[in-house]
């Protein structure tokens, strides 16, 4: 049997692999008219019963956004986005008056059950609290009582605005100002919901917190906003997951995540991103343009980003750490897989400002099909960041000869006592490894899965247990059978 033919079969299999979360739930929704204007922003703000200062914040962001142009520096290509053709607010409409605040539309429960996320606490994975966001609103946050015992606030962003306005006002836009970039300005103008989390001084959150994002309605954009604050000595591990129905048109997802970590506090933020990637011809899929940034404000503070990116037609995302506090630590662990016509331009920024700050970057890119996968990262050591240390390792794996793997690190160093090291390799799966596995009776497809998982292990190990298993499966499904 000729190997080319064999490979061809595998690629066929891979491209025919179905996206498992592509169903649509028939939910009646309460939507804003299409398009974007100051009126739409007022409409969103009013719907959410927001205080004036927040409306002002939105309007300032919107006015700033109007002066900006979409960035074009990433290695991604897409037709122009018509920002007036998007529905900026969509909320599932309750079918009947629900009896209590805790009650959720059964259709919605069913949707999340199908996604493998149970919103009924007793059926859940032990020790994971979930905030479920569908389209523009949060529909349910579980384990509220458990968390309240520890004075932890974990709720939807909208609730936080109502119940903890001072905290929101104090921190909103302090890490990602609306002037930061085009999509950050857009999000600041139109964000609808998201999660809010506050870990008080000295509290180690006993359970994993998790937000599950789901886009359901057609023609809508999702613009959620997450704000996470860990006070002195606090700790939390936070997970997010994302899926969307299979649709022919592209949908925009432009989120912001802000994290503030004080002295001796730690936040671990894990993402398994599986938005609809488009079909095998590259039609449809989510444009995932996200700004995530954490500020290590206090001494000995730590932020660790772990991401497994398998979905989205286009990913444009650079979870970053600003290491302001002395001895603070930033970490970025990433596995990004692209197949078919997917495009990913993802990486991180590590900004060393404080003394003795440390950062680690481990990025594993895997490209298959006709996709393009880029690592783009910045390590900046400022003049005063004495003894700053960075180690970066960016590996790319190519499966097939029609894809691309790119590495664009930027290193800017202005302190003579700092040490920055960057290493990168690009390769394909070694034929010797494949033969070794095959000689032990493991077929080509399984062998690739095994080797790729081994390749990504360094990152997968950083995920909380339940997610790691999920991520491994996802990796195998996304790549099943593809080979170079």
């Amino acid at each position: 049997m000729s190997d080319e033919k064999k490979n061809g079969d595998f690629l066929d299999e891979v491209t025919s692999e179905e996206y498992k979360y592509g169903f649509v739930t028939d939910l009646e929704s309460d939507q804003s008219p299409r398009g974007l204007s100051e009126d739409i922003i007022r409409f969103i703000s009013k719907k959410k019963n927001e205080p004036d200062w927040l409306l002002e914040f939105r309007l300032k962001a919107y006015r700033h956004w109007l002066t900006l142009e979409e960035p074009d520096w990433a290695l991604i290509h897409h037709p122009p986005i018509d920002y007036q053709d998007i529905i900026y607010f969509s909320a599932p409409k309750p079918k009947e008056k629900l009896k209590s605040l805790d009650e959720v539309d059964p259709e919605l429960l069913d949707t999340f059950n199908k996604l493998g996320i149970s919103l009924e606490e007793q059926k859940q994975l032990a020790g994971v609290a979930v905030d479920a966001v569908i389209d523009s609103v949060s529909v349910k946050t579980t384990f509220q009582d458990t968390l309240a015992k520890h004075d932890i606030i974990f709720c939807s962003f909208s609730e936080a605005v109502q119940n903890h306005p001072d905290l929101v006002k104090k921190y909103l836009g302090t890490v990602v100002p609306y002037t930061d970039n085009y999509f950050a300005a857009l999000n600041s103008a139109v964000f609808s919901d998201g999660s809010f989390c506050f870990i008080p001084k000295g509290v180690r959150c006993p359970i994993e917190l998790s937000t599950y994002f789901r886009i359901n309605a057609a023609n809508t954009g999702q613009f959620e906003r997450t704000l996470l604050i860990a006070e002195e000595g606090g700790y939390v591990s936070y997970l997010e997951g994302c899926t969307a129905p299979q649709r022919d048109e592209n949908q925009l997802h432009a989120a912001i995540v802000e994290i503030i970590v004080m002295d001796d506090a730690e936040v671990k933020y894990s993402t398994v991103q599986n938005w609809y990637p488009g079909n095998k011809e590259g039609k449809g899929g989510i444009y995932n343009f996200v700004t995530k940034r954490g500020l290590c404000k206090g001494k000995n503070s730590k932020i660790s980003w772990t991401q497994v990116e398998t979905g989205s037609a286009i990913t444009w995302k650079y979870p970053s750490c600003v290491l302001l506090g002395d001895h603070s630590v930033g970490e970025f662990y990433s596995v990004a897989v692209t197949n078919n016509y997917q495009q990913a331009d993802t990486g991180t920024k590590m900004i060393h400002l404080g003394k003795n700050t440390r950062s680690t970057i481990i990025s594993k890119g895997i490209s298959a099909g006709k996709s393009n996968n880029s690592y783009r990262g910045l390590v900046r050591v400022s003049k005063n960041a004495d003894n700053a240390r960075n180690y970066s390792q960016c590996d790319s794996l190519l499966l097939g000869d029609q894809c691309g793997a790119h590495t664009f690190p930027y290193i800017k160093t202005g302190n003579e006592t700092s040490t920055v090291e960057h290493e990168a390799t690009t390769s394909k799966i070694s034929e010797d490894q494949l033969f070794y596995c095959q000689q032990r009776g493991i077929d080509m497809e399984k062998a690739i899965g095994l080797i790729v998982n081994g390749y990504a292990k360094q990152v997968l190990n950083k995920l909380p247990m339940e997610f790691a298993v999920e991520a491994k499966k996802l990796l195998e499904i996304t790549l099943e059978g593809s080979v170079g």
Binding site: L66, T67, E69, W73, L75, V381, K383, S396, L398, L399, G400, D401, Q402, C403, G404, A405, H406, T407, F408, P409, Y410, I411, K412, T413, G414, N415, E416, T417, S418, T419, V420, E421, H422, E423, A424, T425, T426, S427, K428, G484
Partner: protein
Amino acid sequence: MEKKIKTIYPLEEILFKHFGEHTDEWKKSDHPSVTALRHEAISYFEKHGFPNQKMEKWRSTNLTGVYEEPLEIFDRHVAFDKKLSDIFLCEVHGFNTQVISMLNGSFYSPENHEITITNEGVIVGSMASAFKKYPNLVEKYFGKISGYQDDGFKAVNAAFWRDGVFVYVPDGVEVKNTFQLIKILNQPNLMVNTRNLIVLGKNSRLTFLHCDDSVNHNTGLTNTVNEIVLHENAELELYKLQNLNDDSALLNQTYVHQDANSRLKVNVLTLNGGMVRNEITDQLNGQGAESQISGLYLMDKEQHIDNQIFVNHNVPNCNSSQLFKGIMDDEATGVFNGFIYVARDAQKTNAFQRNNNVLITSAAHIDTQPHLEIYADDVKCSHGATVGQLDNEGMFYLMQRGIPYSDARMLLLFAFADEVISKINIEALRISIEDMVKRRLRGELSICDRCVLHCSNPEQPIVFDIDISKI
């Protein structure tokens, strides 16, 4: 949205004015293809102007200061009225080369020696003369490798160049002498645009040493475009030795086309200079081509170095490597932008890239961007970059053996630099460069014995107990 009004810098105005005043006169002596190119280039420049920091290739180099300078566009022919040895004082000792001289952007030689051809058919001489004497040969290559469409300085060069060096080595000829091009500016406030073309025929070989030197403290801007064509199985060793004063700006763009099995070896040694930028674009267009580009930069005071290296693997089975090392002292700033591109079908590519930097002071700054863009799967590509200090263990080891701190540090700095220097194949040149680097590291500004830069402190005693060369 309101359009931003484009700033017109003084130097741009000077250029436009100069072009308007001289274009008719140039036309009389220019080859028609050159005239056409000048006009295309100037209209590109009118539209785009000088590069700015919003451009990816220029994000870390700010030349606004230079754009503000009222420089004179020097494009006159310099009459040969002084002996070479009176002007060109720089030399590398004990090393026989065939010297080619350029003064203020003009080929400098007696009238009837502007261009020569050897018995073997090797042509060396002034670019302007070459266009007159061998129009077909020159026109075949001129401007084809570099283009002018993507960079303001390249466009300015295409529009304003008046002279440069042309070298042609016919098929099968291995040139024994090393050609040494010495370029000097000896008048204040000049901008010179020079253009060099080196063509190596099949199975030919050439070693070329390209020196940019200053002989005084004048401000100057040199904007050079080099085009290099290596036909099948040709081999070029190219050494660039850059040793300019602190007020000089040097922009060097080199474009290389490599046919099958050709071999390119470039070594860029930047020892001094106010602002030095080396952009090298190497197109590997024939299978089996090999490219080895290395560089060393030792910057201090407020000097700025910018190395931009682009290696494009356009076909399968080529090898390339890039090694750049730098030591940054005082308030010096530096940029390394290395780029490896592997085209869709360029299978079996081996490409390596490394950039290592040592920062000596907290005011020194380095940006390094080792980039890979890869579209073929059966490739071995890797890159690495480091910024750091000298190896602590190494320091301890040396000091434990009784070597004082300052000497140990210098030994290690030299060892750091030597990885690049040791790639110089010509022994006499390597020894000279080693010497220059050692003295550079000792803080002596002097490079060449008789260079003006040394005059500020000619009798500086050498207070260095250890002979590094014996270690």
